[in-house]
Amino acid sequence: MSLDISFIGILIGSIMASSVPLILAASGELITERSGVLNLGVEGMMIIGAISGFALMVITDNLFIAIVGSMLSGVIISLIFGFLTQSLLTNHVATGLALTIFGIGLSAMLGKNFVGIPGKEFPVLFSSLRESIPFFGPILFGHSIVLYFAFALPFLTNYFLKKTKLGLVVRAVGDSPVSASNQGINVILVRYCCILYGGAMCGLAGAYLSLIYTPQWIENMTAGRGWIALALVVFATWSPIKVLIGALIFGGITILQLHMQAIGFRIPVQFLSALPYLMTIIVLVVISRDSRKIKLNTPTSLGRIFYKEK
């Protein structure tokens, strides 16, 4: 294994691919949390997205239906969360945890007959350019459309939150639902929408895993990525761009430490495996030091139950 320039290009390409599910799930959760809702069910929604995407692909043999279906399944399962927390006013934390446990269990049951079925190859874009341009080719080209979408998403999210009226409404609801309600904003509706959007993105993140990244169904294949995505949102202090940076660092060090293990570095394997978590936290803590900005970005009402006075 030589460290030539094209190898580094391929390495970066694979790092990008590995961070896609984190970016998608974290961007979705970011919107949910910005509206003041703490949904700890990210892992559960992702795994449901993964199995429904894969199952639909096997059944319909149509990748488009599979992708859309996985997002819909994310929406449906997050609707359960939305109904419980927004309409029945249950505790966000407990409900989110239950959602994750439920999702993992349900996906294992649904997925029983799909274990061992080979996946289908997902079409990639610009694959000819990938080969012809050294270094930049493997970085920029030959990826699935979902990856391009994922990398655009943090910027779109940032634009949505900062520049659009709806984004302003979402931030306002997350800041003070009581004030928003007194201003005539339908807080419950806004929060429902944000929860469902978060569900859709988590579903897509799951489908990316089972249809594109490792095209097959394995029980519990999200392997804690949902929790990482949740942590990313907090450590990135609810800033979409920092979520992207964090996801890339996490993906990058995960891939790098695998290579280091393969090369046979004389560092304990356990330490190497822990490295991505440590580094992501350290880097995000360092880039998010500005306490004033943290205060401005943190949704003040996060996780608090809101009910309207009658």
Partner: protein, 499 residues
């Protein structure tokens, strides 16, 4: 066009409480109306109904003879009823402009133009692009007012607007309100402060226990008559008999108190020296923000400053933390009852137990002795006539007055030699203020001392034996209170000199 607002037979019943009982009132534009009542009299419920936040069980609202259906805040907005709530309805982390644009129908450019016109017209100076959390309370209120003005309201309702304002901000507010009134906006001013009613309003309606008990012209009223209507009984006049005696021991002595902070929101204190005698009340006057916060925190031990000497009962305590100072029989009542003195989410008896004083037997071998704490809490509730006997009640459900009584009760039950309080009657109604004042006087009668830091000059003149004024972190000379007049205090509080 003249505006005519009529409320007809409004009732709202909460479980265990009639908030509004058949309330009927009539308002016409060109006048400022006061809605006066103690905390819990039903004023806030009524304005929440008018602004569409809650719906009445019964009754109707007419604006210019049109029957309004106010089932959401949007309805109130549509009908041009503007409302500035007591607790601001602003989004702290959003910028001023974002706060104003959130319910605007026009594009940002023309909105900015209109906001700037309003700023200019009423002489408001507010930076539109800073987050609201950086603004002072007075500025936040202006943002709320601008939000109403943007919708060219016919009716503007102000709910306890001055409870968070400094005196200067209050004056500015009154000037603006009079301008709005001249422009034909009908103004309803909700308050429990009698002086404001007399100086600002034309007509006053008094509410008590959910009912309107009187409607009258303010020119026919005096502070005493309004107070009696509001409380429903004759209030005893309190006046302390001053007990200055030169030969009494100094119990508390502060020397070379200096405080320097980099935080632009904190005030530096410059070489403060004072002492308190046994059984004396030392009043410290000043407009808020002149260093009272810092002074209170240093006296209570929340901030430890180097080189300061604080002698209390012949011991040096300048380096001790609040808990240790309490063990020497000091007690503290901070300004912010909700966030500094008590934990609102905890039950009454839990809050009582928070002052883990050594002499108490609340804790045994690290375990909480719940029975003893509850007995003790019950005693506080009855001794200090707190309006409940349920020690399991969460403290947040107590009104300001009752919470203050609870806190004072908690502090005083150890029989402290010195009580330091900061704005003890802030935001309270007349009845509660009277009670707190009586309690503070009683403390002095028992030969215990108090330091009263307050922004209320009337209170200071009533309770203090000697008074000093704090201005920009410096303390004036300490004067016997019989030599002090409100005018003198006013001059000193504004940074002037009286010699």
């Amino acid at each position: 066009m003249a505006t005519d607002l009529r409320i007809s037979n409004i009732s709202k019943i909460y479980p265990g409480c009639v908030a509004n009982d058949n309330v009927s009132l009539q308002f016409k534009s060109g006048k400022i109306y006061a809605l006066l009542g103690e905390n819990g009299a039903g004023k806030s419920t009524l304005v929440k109904i008018l602004s569409g936040v809650i719906s009445p069980d019964n009754g109707e609202v007419f604006l210019n003879k049109k029957n309004l259906k106010l089932s959401s805040p949007l309805d109130a907005k549509k009908n041009k009823i503007g409302m500035v709530f007591q607790h601001f309805n602003l989004f702290e982390t959003l910028s001023v402009f974002e706060n104003l644009s959130i319910d605007a129908t026009e594009d940002n450019k023309s909105l900015r133009v209109r906001i700037n016109e309003i700023l200019k017209k009423y002489n408001f100076s507010i930076n539109l692009d800073v987050p609201v959390l950086n603004l002072s309370a007075g500025q936040k209120q202006k943002v709320e007012i601008i939000r109403c003005l943007l919708r060219s309201p016919k009716v503007l309702i102000m709910d306890e607007p001055t409870s968070v304002l400094t005196e200067q901000e209050t004056e500015e507010l009154f000037i603006s309100l009079k301008k709005f009134c001249d422009e034909g906006i009908l103004i309803i001013y909700i308050t429990h402060k009698l002086k404001e009613v007399l100086s600002l309003c034309d007509e006053v309606a008094v509410m008590r226990k959910g009912k309107v008990v009187s409607v009258s012209q303010t020119q026919n009223e005096k502070v005493e008559t309004l107070a009696n209507k509001m409380v429903g009984q004759k209030l005893a006049k309190i006046k302390k008999k001053i007990n200055i005696s030169k030969n009494k021991d100094e119990i508390f002595k502060v020397k070379h108190l200096n405080f320097y902070s980099d935080d632009p929101f904190e005030t530096n204190l410059v070489n403060l020296n004072f002492s308190v005698k046994k059984g004396e009340c030392l009043g410290i006057a000043g407009i808020s923000g002149n260093g009272q916060n810092e002074l209170f925190q240093i006296l209570s031990g929340e901030i430890i400053t180097p080189d300061t000497s604080i002698i209390f009962r012949n011991k040096e305590i300048a380096k001790l933390n609040p808990k240790q100072r309490r063990e020497y029989l000091m007690a503290f009542s901070p300004e912010d009852r909700i966030s500094q003195a008590a934990v609102p989410e905890l039950k009454i008896y839990e809050n009582v137990a928070l002052n883990n004083f050594k002499s108490s037997n609340f804790f045994e071998k690290g375990l909480v002795n719940e029975r003893k704490i509850k007995e003790h809490s019950k005693k506080i509730l009855s001794d200090f006539s707190v309006n409940t006997d349920n020690v399991e009640l969460k403290s947040q459900f107590l009104s300001g007055g009752n919470l203050q009584k609870l806190i004072l009760g908690r502090e005083l039950i150890t029989a402290p030699e010195l009580l330091i309080c900061y704005n003890p009657t802030w935001g309270l109604d007349v009845g509660a203020i009277n009670y707190i004042h009586e309690t503070l006087i009683k403390i002095n009668d028992q030969e215990k001392s108090t330091i009263l830091i307050s922004t209320d000059t009337e209170e200071l003149l009533k309770l203090s034996d000697r008074i000093a004024v704090i201005y920009k972190g410096k303390l004036s000379k300490i004067m016997p209170s019989e030599e002090v007049t409100p005018e003198k205090l006013g001059v000193l509080m504004g940074g002037g000199s009286i010699d």
